[in-house]
């Protein structure tokens, strides 16, 4: 009897601990946790339609860029550049963020100005410095293509090629870009040989001494928060939307799945390697003005820096995204 009570007590303590630490934990993402608009996963046809739009250069004014130009599957869904180029040839103000595991994400863009992937998808199409394409012009172009006429009619109740549905389709495709079978995930599921000893030690540091999980927590290694981490420059970031001193120079914490493939790093693409990034955090950032309270020098050794880079490498999984054949006008 005493034993039983003790057992129940232990179970309770253990469980309550789990509940409290839930969000701090890193782990394998649960596909059942994805919040689809109106709770329904998109149909195959909608994803296919969105994929075609994603790769179609009709979406930029000069027909020289698609979403995949700056969010290129072969370049970690980035473009390898510090700043992307727009359709007119000029540079975009921030580094192109990757799009891995955005299905679990809540706010979009570096400053979080879009509240849904549907809304986000339409932003760069219209932005003058990016694809510079008014939506009514996009619609006009898409209407000339049988694939789109049939596709929108089949997928959407209102059967219309309109901006709302364009956003929906692209978002539906983007939510299928999922990284959840990396060496780290295999390790978490019990295959203790999936990660190198260095990476395993890096994981301990990630959660401990290096303080990374203060923000890079949860199955996608982000808590979706906004912090000023001390990158030099005068971009006010989140403060443009949230008029608060703490939000000056604060940017969204990006997820770290496939981070190895998404160089260069930071909102301004100012760091080119993961080693540089860890060293940046190790010295507690470069610009101390308005620095987040979670930032402090870490005193990591060279070996520990190496282990952290190894761990970040264990979050890598190459996705096989086949480029679709873009249909001609007909």
């Amino acid at each position: 009897m005493v034993k039983q009570v003790f057992f129940i007590f232990i179970v309770c303590v253990f469980n309550s601990g789990l509940v409290f630490c839930e969000d701090e934990k890193i782990g394998v993402p649960d596909r059942d946790d994805i919040e689809y608009p109106d709770d329904d996963a998109p149909s195959k046809e909608e994803v296919q339609l969105g994929k075609m739009l994603y790769f179609d250069t009709r979406l930029s004014l000069k027909k020289n860029q698609s979403c995949a130009t700056c969010h290129n599957p072969e370049l970690g869904f980035g473009d390898g550049l510090k700043f992307s180029l727009g359709t007119m040839g000029g540079k975009v103000g921030r580094n192109a963020p990757h799009i891995y595991n955005l299905a679990w994400n809540s706010l979009f863009f570096w400053d979080g100005r879009a509240g849904s992937l549907e809304e986000q998808a339409l932003g760069p199409i219209q932005a003058a410095g990016e694809m510079n394409m008014p939506l009514d012009k996009v619609i006009e172009r898409l209407k000339k293509v049988k694939f789109y006429r049939d596709g929108f009619e089949k997928v959407y109740k209102d059967k219309k090629i309109e901006s709302k549905n364009i956003g929906k389709a692209i978002a539906a495709f983007e939510r299928t870009i999922i990284v959840d079978n990396t060496p780290f995930d295999k390790y978490m599921k019990g295959d203790k040989d999936a990660m190198s000893p260095s990476a395993v030690n890096g994981m301990k540091l990630f959660k401990g001494k290096a303080n990374c999980t203060k923000c890079h927590s949860g199955p996608n290694f982000t808590d979706n928060s906004f912090h000023n981490i001390g990158v030099k420059g005068d971009d006010i970031g989140r403060q443009k939307l949230v008029k608060d001193a703490t939000m000056k120079g604060a940017f969204k914490v990006p997820g770290l799945r496939n981070v190895l493939l998404t160089a260069p790093y930071m909102h301004d693409g100012s760091l080119s390697t993961l080693e540089e990034v860890i060293k940046f955090y190790n010295r507690g950032g470069d610009n101390k003005a308005n620095l987040s309270k979670e930032m402090k020098p870490l005193k990591l050794t060279d070996k520990e820096i190496m282990d952290l880079v190894s761990f970040l490498g264990s979050l890598t999984q190459q996705l096989d995204i086949k480029r679709p054949k873009i249909p001609k006008d007909d």
Binding site: D23, K214, C215, D223, N224, D244, K293
Partner: protein, 211 residues
């Protein structure tokens, strides 16, 4: 022989149901069934009662979450926010519908701050954190002592709840969700009622009530 057993069973059944009625006679029980994923939280309260009087209500923050999904208090009650977390938070409200705006500023771990419930009765406001936009909780200004708060989990589509020892004269029950339409329903002693959970005219579930 068979008949005797059945009679025994019947007597047993009578005893059981008799007990059940005695226990729950003053209780109102309900069952939520969501057709898609469940909402975040539910608040049910009898609107005719005004006997609630709270001085303070507490909301803590741990692991980048509010410790409670919804708290209730009557007008002029104080809400004390704690930061029992290892990271800083910044609680704010910007509820245009209820016309409530406040910002308690940056709270380091271990710090606390407070606000007063000074908005209109029956209004429920959303609070969040400026640093962690995924954090949310609700504060309801109600003065009914006969209320229940049920924290819901997305994947748990069927949830039972109860309001204990409700006086017979109270019959007007209000059920509130963050995402779905508020339901007002009359439930008298000895009756059952089934109401829909809706949003934009679309059905998302049912509530079965028994008294």
């Amino acid at each position: 022989m068979k008949r005797i057993i059945n009679t025994k069973k019947f007597v047993f059944f009578l005893i059981i149901t008799g007990c059940w009625f005695q226990i729950v006679a003053k209780d109102v029980t309900g069952k939520l069934t969501f057709t898609k994923s469940a909402d975040f939280v539910m608040l049910a309260y009898f609107t005719e009662d005004h006997s609630l009087s709270k001085k303070t209500v507490q909301v803590d923050q741990k692991a980048k979450k509010f410790s409670k999904k919804l708290v209730v208090g009557n007008t002029s009650a104080e809400v004390v926010f704690k930061n029992g977390d290892s990271v800083s938070h910044n609680i704010f409200a910007k509820d245009t519908k209820a016309d409530v705006t406040f910002d308690v500023g940056l709270m380091s771990p271990g710090k606390d701050s407070k606000i007063k419930i000074d908005w209109n009765k029956d209004l429920i406001i959303r609070i969040g954190c400026k640093i962690h936009p995924k954090m949310r909780s609700y504060i309801a200004n109600i003065d009914s002592a006969f209320h229940t708060i049920v924290e819901l989990e997305k994947k748990k589509k069927e949830v039972e709840f109860s309001l204990k020892d409700v006086p017979d004269k109270l019959t007007k029950l209000r059920i509130w969700f963050p995402k779905y339409d508020t339901v007002d329903v009359e439930i008298k002693v000895g009756t059952t009622s089934e109401v829909d959970i809706k949003r934009n005219g679309k059905l998302y579930g049912k509530i079965l009530l028994k008294r």
